[in-house]
């Protein structure tokens, strides 16, 4: 095993240069903040999810009660057996009777614990899955601008980590009730058996609680530190795995191993500290248990001697002592679980509370198949941030069946125009009509059916080729799927795949080339068979031969449909019926290729550069303009 001493080496490096700009891994943005133990609002929200299972909650609480009572009764029965069943010369039937009662209690205990654990466990799972479903379904409807600015990883950590810690909480909360009851019951029974002895024994409880609370705060920070150190180290490992090619290319393996060694050492130290703190409670609890037993042996013994209590009571006390440290231990544990759950619950409700901006209005009607594929923008203004509109008062109309190319430099508002047609966002001013209806007056579902979209980056799902092309168009049979694939020229390469249309696509189609993925996404749009096709042409470099195929497929796709294409390629632009040129959110020119060239405006300037792809256009047009004016 690698037994290097990283500290020393690193020290020598540091002597050489005080400014070493090297780290491995990154500090995790800690999301595991401990919240308040109890948060009324969060509890209320979570309760809404538990409410449908009200009956199960009742059953499990009842079972917990039965379980606790049976637990409490057993030492009492032992005591009874000792005191009245085992005295010399007593009828054996008395002992037998006690044993029969014992058997009944044991069966109750058996049934109650089964019922309680099964019902609680299952219910916790169901609630958990309900919460996750509610969140997921909510995310399907929240505005895209929210999704744009929220990383998938963050949402996933809420859908998984936070939901899981809720589960832990739900499962333990019923157990916590049981623990509380048990503790309370033991104290009551002890007082009932002999209050003086009970007081003497129970003096250890406040000491234990006090120590435990003092310990908890220190221990928690140590646990957190260990957890954090561990996840930083793991993060660095993940980075090394994902970035291994970059690391090797830049010959950083040696230095990285040293830096990682340091992280590992930190983790080691933090974990030892946490381990020390978690173990230190054991002798304390044992000492207190020992003291309690000693008190019973001594004071209880004296009481037996003086005849105040019977020896069975003393034995019962000894049994109870061994029992009552358990609930205290688990209760303090549950304290942390609850804190974590509240923090998680808070983050869950945050997701559930994200506002839904784009909703079907009450009077929304579905677009019918008789509605045509026309599009009209009337004075549309829109901005992701209302103070800074990216689309400024644009008006244009596209006739059914016409193909229009949207052209303009980065930031000109092309993508926003495209998103607005589909009502991904709500316009700030003006109106958009599809098939003659204001998009706000039709149902989103029918709008989706009316418009098909091809995004710049082809996005494929895990599943077969067939499933990916069909996607949500459930009405399309296999033949329709194959026909579409043929139409866009994807059929041949699909057949060449190991299982043809049944080939599984892995990791977003990484087993296909970019051009092939593009063709699949074309086929998907074709199967959807919508009146309007909106497309953001891919900018990625594909070889020129694939490019030709894609151009041909595009023509197939646009046949008989209204097409709006954000065009990056000259070939695409020249094939369009009309070109709309956008600049900084405004429509500056429109017409066909020749008209625009004659106009001598922005389009002709762009064209003069003779770039093969319009994506090559310089992004910073304003500085460009300045250059032209001088």
């Amino acid at each position: 095993m690698n037994q290097t001493k990283p500290d020393k080496t690193l020290q020598s490096i540091k002597d050489k240069s005080p400014h070493i700009r090297a780290v491995v891994g990154s500090h995790r943005i800690e999301e595991e903040i401990f919240g308040r133990v109890f948060d009324g609002k969060v509890t209320q929200r979570i309760w809404q999810f538990v409410r449908p299972y009200k009956h199960k909650v009742m059953v499990s609480i009842f079972a917990v009660l039965a379980f606790t009572c049976s637990q409490l009764t057993i030492p009492l029965l032992i005591r009874h057996a000792i005191d009245s069943g085992m005295a010399p010369g007593v009828q054996p039937t008395i002992l037998l009777q006690i044993i029969i009662i014992f058997a009944i209690i044991v069966i109750i205990n058996f049934i109650a614990s089964r019922v309680q654990e099964l019902v609680t466990g299952r219910m916790a799972e169901e609630v958990l899955f309900d919460i996750r479903r509610a969140m997921f379904s909510h995310l399907q409807r929240v505005s895209l601008s929210f999704m744009d600015k929220t990383e998938v990883g963050r949402l996933m950590s809420r859908l998984q980590g936070d939901v899981n810690s809720m589960q832990e909480f739900l499962e333990t909360s019923v157990l916590a009730i049981g623990d509380l009851l048990l503790l309370f019951g033991i104290v009551m029974v002890m007082f009932w058996l002999d209050w003086q002895l009970a007081i003497m024994v129970l003096t250890v409880i406040p000491i234990l609680l006090g120590v435990r609370i003092l310990w908890l705060t220190r221990a928690r920070s140590a646990f957190m530190a260990a957890h954090e150190a561990n996840s930083i180290t793991n993060g660095a490992l993940a980075e090394a795995i994902h970035g291994v090619r970059a690391v090797q290319a830049m010959d950083r393996t040696k230095l990285n191993s040293e830096l990682y060694g340091q992280l590992v050492d930190n983790t080691f130290k933090a974990q030892l500290r946490a381990s020390k703190l978690s173990q230190v409670m054991i002798p304390i609890v044992d000492t207190l248990t020992g003291s309690a037993m000693a008190v019973v042996a001594l004071a209880g013994g004296m009481m037996v001697v003086s005849g105040r209590i019977e020896v069975g009571v003393m034995v019962a006390f000894l049994f109870y002592i061994q029992r009552f440290f358990d609930p205290i231990r688990s209760l303090t544990m549950q304290y942390s679980v609850m804190q974590r759950a509240m923090a998680s619950g808070h983050r869950l409700t945050e997701v559930l509370d994200v506002k839904i901006d784009v909703k079907d209005s009450d009077k929304a009607k579905p677009l019918s198949s008789s509605d045509d594929g026309s599009i009209e923008f009337q004075n549309v203004t829109f901005g992701y941030n209302p103070e800074n509109p990216v689309v400024k008062g644009i008006s244009f109309s596209v006739n059914s069946g016409e193909t229009v190319a949207l052209v303009g430099p980065t930031g000109s508002g092309k993508s926003s125009v495209m998103a607005l047609i589909h009502r991904f966002y709500e316009v700030q001013a003006g109106a958009i009509f599809v098939g003659g209806h204001d998009v706000r007056d039709v149902t989103q579902k029918s709008l989706g059916r009316h418009i098909a979209m091809v995004l710049q980056e082809p996005y494929l799902f895990t599943g077969t080729v067939m499933e990916n092309i069909r996607y949500a168009s459930n009405w399309a049979d296999d033949k329709a799927v194959v026909d579409s694939a043929k139409a866009v020229g994807a059929h041949d390469f699909i057949l060449a795949l190991p299982k043809g249309y049944d080939t599984m696509l892995t990791e977003r189609g990484s087993n296909l080339s970019h051009g092939q993925r593009q063709l699949l996404s074309f086929a998907r749009a074709l199967v959807a068979d919508a009146k309007i096709l909106i497309m953001d042409e891919a900018t990625a470099n594909i070889d020129s031969y694939t490019e030709m195929q894609i151009q041909k497929a595009l023509q197939q796709l646009l046949k008989g449909r209204t097409g709006i294409v954000i065009a990056h390629r000259l070939a695409t632009i020249r094939n369009a019926d009309r070109i709309i040129v956008l600049k900084q959110g405004q429509l500056v020119e429109q017409g066909d290729h020749d008209q625009l060239l004659n106009l001598g405006g922005l389009y002709s300037q762009l064209y003069q550069h003779n770039y093969a792809s319009f994506d090559d256009l310089p992004t910073d047009l304003s500085s460009k303009d300045r250059k032209f004016s001088t």
Binding site: V152, I241, T253, N256, L272, A294, G301, M302, K552
Partner: protein, 619 residues
């Protein structure tokens, strides 16, 4: 990420690590013995843990005995009406035994965990070093998720082995063995009754743990599918919205969710059924002991204290018996985890330094390839690169062009020795790159890769990645050359801005420029741009090309690109097809030649679909 044209057929069959699946039992046993040996590499701590365990067990066993004596003495004192002073020693013994038990439990737990953490420290360093040094060919075949599982979860399985399995075996074995001896020697019938639940509960516990482990592995897989459904949905939310397919997506979610939920329920049932039956068997034993013991107490055969000892002992024994299952699980887990972990640690790297390798000595900086061929592992029938020879001198710029799959990237990956050619030699200033140290080759040959991986740290640290001791001014210089300086100054934290997975997200072009900047920082002898300017707009690329003109004078520059504009100016252009050089010469030469290069030129500069379709042979 390399583009090694892996077909679907080749991916799953020759992977080295899999998250699930069985491990050969022999390897499992080997792993267990190797982990044990690793633990005893810290002999003082390991033995201390075991000795402390033994003492803790003895203390634990003495408590029921003392309790029984306390009861008996109390009864005796009560009957004899003697002075209660005789109770002091026994009370003191109880207290003493409890404290000692606590302290030795602390020692045994703490030292056992320490041994685990020490092992984890060693293994972590070994795994990290291994992963970093294994060649590209290994990483091509290995799923990164599987490596992460090995480095994180399997590590835990191995770490926990000493404390949860090995030491616990000593603990449980002694506790049950000595306890049984004690009880059976005291009273054979009662002892047998008291212990009757042990084999049953122990067996149930082991069965349950193994069953739970199995379902847990399946559950992990199903939850994996569920999270995949969610992740793909959220990642592709625009597609989902575009096709208004939330219903379709919810259906997928429901299916994945229900199948996970069903298994989850199964898991709970397995657990509850087994634990409740274990508890039941315990209470049945207790009832029997209570009845028959009670009869014996009544008849005076045994004392009440003896009965109390039996009952207390049973209570104490309940916990370790339940833990038997955990123990068995610990062994099972360590054997699979260990086998996978050691398979990784022991994996031989194909690309190593030869013995006594010297550093590469740069004299003129001439790169020479002689008859170089290469085929990917597992795809040996098809050569990705065949018989390539060329020479490039300091100051020369060579362009490489060709359709996807023509072997451009593969060729570029041979020069820094990411892979070793199957045939032919690559040399720099006459020194075969396989004969000199790997590190010196990597420093001399720098590649700007297609997919630029950024590290989650400041821009400054990213640029200085290859040369962390550099000056700030150097960093600014290369950033300026890469046309990135102005952009960085516009960021809120300037050069301190965190980028990468958890930092500010950069556009494709910005990422590429950052990647270029950090490569320039290496001041290599051979500088390779592997299709790494595709996302940079033409004008910026132009400025960049001017900026590095001086820089290129001192080195060989290789440029791979699809866009002709990126390499038209090169001193020589190699046109690759099917792993071979089919045309080479200057831009003008190649245009005159009227071959493949000319076609590409026409296609990119004067795109007229009909004419080109004819040329490309697409109907």
């Amino acid at each position: 990420m390399t583009k090694n044209n892996q077909s679907i057929t080749g991916t799953s069959s020759n992977r080295t690590f899999r998250r699930t699946g069985t491990v050969d039992p022999h390897a499992g046993l080997d792993a267990i013995s190797r982990i044990t040996r690793m633990a005893f590499r810290y002999p003082t701590r390991a033995w201390l843990a075991i000795i402390a365990t033994i003492i803790a067990v003895l203390m634990q066993l003495s408590i029921p005995v003392f309790l029984g004596q306390a009861v008996d003495q109390t009864q005796a004192v009560a009957e004899a009406r003697a002075e209660p002073e005789t109770l002091y020693p026994i009370a003191f013994l109880l207290l003493f035994a409890s404290i000692a038990r606590g302290i030795f439990t602390l020692i045994h737990n703490y030292t056992a965990e320490t041994v685990g953490h020490l092992m984890a420290r060693d293994i972590r360093n070994a795994v990290y070093g291994k992963i970093q040094n294994l060649p590209f060919s290994f990483h091509d075949r290995t799923h990164s998720g599987d490596l992460i599982t090995v480095g994180m979860l399997d590590l835990e399985g191995v770490r926990m082995f000493f404390s949860t399995a090995l030491v616990r075996t000593v603990l449980v074995g002694l506790l049950i063995g000595l306890g049984a001896a004690l009880l059976l020697s005291t009273n054979l019938t009662l002892g047998l009754l008291a212990l009757s639940f042990v084999p049953f509960a122990g067996w149930r516990s082991a069965v349950m743990r193994l069953a739970l482990r199995k379902t847990w592995l399946i559950l992990q897989e199903r939850l994996g599918i569920l999270s995949q459904v969610m992740e793909e949905n959220l990642g592709g939310i625009r597609v989902v919205r575009a096709f208004a397919s939330s219903e379709h997506e919810m259906k997928k979610f429901e299916i994945a969710s229900k199948s996970a939920l069903r298994l989850s329920h199964e898991r709970i049932e397995t657990r509850v059924q087994n634990t409740s039956i274990m508890t039941l068997s315990f209470f049945v034993s207790m009832g029997l002991v209570l009845y028959f013991g009670g009869r014996q107490v009544a008849s005076g055969e045994i004392t009440l204290g003896t009965l109390a000892t039996f009952l207390t002992f049973m209570t104490i024994l309940q916990m370790p018996v339940r833990q038997l299952g955990m123990m068995v699980n610990g062994y099972a887990r360590a054997s699979t985890c260990g086998a996978r972990l050691f398979a990784l640690i022991d994996h031989e790297s194909e690309i190593n330094n030869v013995p006594d390798a010297q550093d590469l000595k740069i004299i003129d900086g001439t790169l020479k390839l002689e008859n170089v061929s290469f085929a990917y592992k597992g795809n040996t029938d098809r050569q990705a690169v065949t018989g390539i020879s060329f020479e490039a001198k300091k100051g020369e710029t060579i362009g490489v062009i060709g359709s996807p799959g023509s072997g451009k990237t593969t060729l570029m990956h041979l020069i820094p020795r990411f892979y070793d050619p199957t045939n032919g030699t690559i040399s720099i200033d006459g020194q075969d790159i396989r004969r000199v140290t790997l590190s010196s080759v990597r420093q001399a040959v720098a590649v700007v890769q297609q997919d630029s991986f950024l590290f989650t740290t400041s821009i400054e640290n990213n640029i200085a990645y290859a040369n962390p001791y550099t000056e700030t001014s150097q960093i600014h210089d290369v950033a300026e050359s890469a046309q990135l300086h102005d952009y960085i100054l516009g960021l809120p934290d300037k050069y301190e801005t965190i980028v990468g997975e958890r930092g500010v997200s950069l556009s494709g072009g910005q990422r590429q420029r950052l990647s270029i900047a950090r490569t320039l920082m290496m001041k290599p002898t051979v500088l390779i741009f592997d299709d790494s300017t595709a996302a940079i707009d033409a004008e910026t690329e132009n400025r960049f090309r001017t900026a590095i003109k001086e820089f290129a004078k001192d080195r060989v520059t290789l440029i791979v690109a699809h866009r002709l504009a990126s390499l038209m100016h090169a001193d020589r252009i190699l046109c690759l097809d099917n792993g071979q050089i089919i045309e080479q010469g200057t831009h003008e030469d190649l245009l005159l030649l009227g071959g493949r290069y000319r076609d590409l030129y026409e296609l990119q500069m004067h795109p007229n679909p009909e004419i080109l379709a004819k040329k490309a042979g697409i109907k």
